[in-house]
Each structure stands twice: as structure tokens, then as C-alpha cells.
Amino acid sequence: MDFNFDEFLTWVGEDFDTLMMLIWILPVIIFVFYGQRIQLLISSNEIKKDIEKLDEYTASTKKDFLNYVTNNLTSKTDPSKRLDSFFDYFTIMPVDMDPNGIISKINHLIRSREDFIRLQINGMFSNLSSVELSKIQNLLEIVTTLQLFYKHTRHLYLTAKKQKNFPLILPLQMMIPFIMEEAVALKDAMPAIKKGQPIGDSIGPMIVGQMMLKTTKESAAFETVWSKTTFEDRELFLLKAEGPNATVGRPGDGFEKIISSKKPDLVIMIDAALKLEGEDSASIAKGFGAAIGGIGTERFKIEDIATKNNIPILALVVKQSIHEAITLMTDDIANKANTVRDELYQMIRENTVSGQTILVIGVGNTIGVSQ
């Protein structure tokens, strides 16, 4: 049968609604059967771009780290191969079906890992100073974390694609902006760590470090120092990580040592805190409780000692974004040091009386900040 175009046009003209219905129903049918796949395709394309960026960040930081080690440290053998094996190290967290006693298990695990890495790095290079060693540990942590981000996001992405499972990609789609924010911050943290410059998180140690000048410093715990001073007829105990190492020290152990000699009447913790969206950077906030981040073991220890000895804990924090917290300290944050110190003295005046003892802890990474 020959197709007559004129006849077809005449038919369309007579029954235009039928044609329109056909045109509209086709996409509906396509979306009913293939909607999820189309969504998966669009979402996965965006995620793929981010995964490529993560791969790029991992490769560039790894190269940067190895270049730094080769150019600045002396080693008997080529350290690249051994360092390369560190990038893939993993940590198996303790079983939490019975959470009783899990904190001490996590503490043991983290400390063992730190000690192992420290020992390995120390054995690899000759004449390694404590500052350089701590910098290497921090740089290694950055590369390892970026590699972990890359591997995990790629795993979730490939699993969803392999199984053509759209719901599986949804959690990744929700999480990827936060992962990318942290990844960019980690990548940008490299130059400051390499040069030993203070980062946003160093604001706590910077404030306490200034108060420690011209006092006699003693070791309180591993990579942690403390000293005594006075303020308006009150005794102040000052505690911070030992600078200018790139370390957060062990404030929990330091507190334990201090309390064995004299019990303070009040503990004030100064730290950097992540700002909420809409909050100003470098704004100051006061509150209650132990202001300390990390995996939670140090906070647990401080809270435990304070509870057993009935010591109130107050907190003074300087708000900042994740990027500001781990990259070179901004002028705005550095300028807040004097204001926070004034707030601290005001807090001491308001919450204690003459003759009492106050423990002030400067929490954070003390890279580039002495005391």
C-alpha cells in the first residue's frame, strides 16, 4: 500500500487531538519504565565529575608529599615505596555490639597507630626533628584521608551503576557536597603544613601560648606542656600542645597529671569550632562542656575527670568553616586572639573568687605556634 501524505494531512486535520495524545503519552510511557535510569544517568554524571576531582586531589597531594620528603629530608634509601604502602593503611574500629569499655579500646588503637607511624617515619629518615616528624605525620594523614574519600565514593558509585540501582546512589548524592568541601580543605591545607604555618585550628594554642610566655613550662603528657601563672589573686594552670610541632597533644592525659597535684575549681577550654551556615567567621561563642574535637577519646577523658571531681567546664570557641580550620590562619581569626583573651579573663572573674585555681586548656593543632 502506498503512503499518501496528502491523505495523512487530511486525517490529521480531522483528528488532531488523537495525534497530540500520542505525542504526550509517549514521554509518560518512557518515564514510567525508564525514569529511574534517566535520573541515575544524570546524577551519576555529576558524581563522576566529583570523583574525578577526588582522584586528582589524591594524586596531586601524594606527588606533593613525596616531593617534599625527597627535597627536604635525608634518607638512606628511596622512601617513596615505603611511604606509598602507608597510604593504603586502614584501621579496624573495635566491635561495638557491647559498647562497655570501647573508649579505652579506641584510645589504644589510635595511639598504637600513631606510635607505629611515628616509629616507621623515624626509622626512614636521619636527623629528623620533632617538628619535621609531626609535619610528616600530618601530611601523611591528609593524603591517606583523600585516598580513603576517593576509594569509598568510587565504590558506592560503581556499585550503584553496576546494579543499576538508583536508590543506592541517593545517599552518595546527598553526601558528596560535604565530602568535596572537606576534600578541598584537605588539599589546601598542604602548603601551610609543609611550611609550618599556623592554621585556623591553632587559635586555642595561640591564645594560651601567649599567656605561657615568661612562665616555666613543664611536660604534662606526650607532646603536651603546662605552666602556672596568676591572675587577680587566682592561680591559673595553662595547658596546650607543645609547639611549634604539628600536634594536638594529649590534653586528657595532661589534665590527669595536673589534677594529681592540685584540683582546679574551674576548667575553661578554648578551641576553634565549626560555624553553622549563616554564622560569621571568627565570631566568638561561649558555652558549657568540653570544647574539643577529634574521635572523642580525649573529650571522654576530660569529661570523666571533671565529673568525678565535680569540676565545671566552660568553653570559649572561635567559629570558622572547615576550610578555615585546617588551612593557613586568616587575619580575621588571628585578630580575635586578644578579644578571646579578654573574654577569658571576664569569664574567670565572673565564675571564680580570689584564691581559686583555674585550668585553661588551649585546644587544637599548635603548628607554627610556640609558647
Binding site: Q197, M206, M329, G368
Partner: protein
């Protein structure tokens, strides 16, 4: 100097004289550490204390 997303960050060191309190800002040099005294004051020969090290970002 570090570069990220076309943003250039320059690191500065801020020093203050312990005696005459004169202050100065210069570019960061390796070995600068907050609360170290890397140089003497040109005016009074007192010690210049590093009070802050910070970055300034330009687009």
C-alpha cells in the same frame, strides 16, 4: 603562596617590639614561628616578637 580556585593566598608575619612596642608586617619566611623572636628592633635594639602569622587571600 598557595593557589586554589584562582585565589592567591600570601602569608604574612606580624612582629612587635618587646620594648618600644613598634610593630611591622612582612612576608613570611621559613622558620617563622608565633612567639619566636627572629630579629632585633631597628629603633631600640629590643627583641621583635612574632605575634601572628596569617594569610591574605586575593581573588
Amino acid at each position: 603562596m598557595s593557589k586554589s580556585n584562582n585565589k592567591l593566598t600570601t602569608c604574612y608575619t606580624y612582629l612587635e617590639c618587646n620594648s618600644c612596642k613598634i610593630s611591622k608586617k612582612r612576608k613570611f619566611v621559613d622558620g617563622d614561628v608565633v612567639f619566636f623572636c627572629p630579629e632585633n628592633c631597628l629603633d631600640c635594639e629590643g627583641k621583635m616578637l612574632i605575634t601572628k602569622i596569617f594569610g591574605v587571600t586575593m581573588d
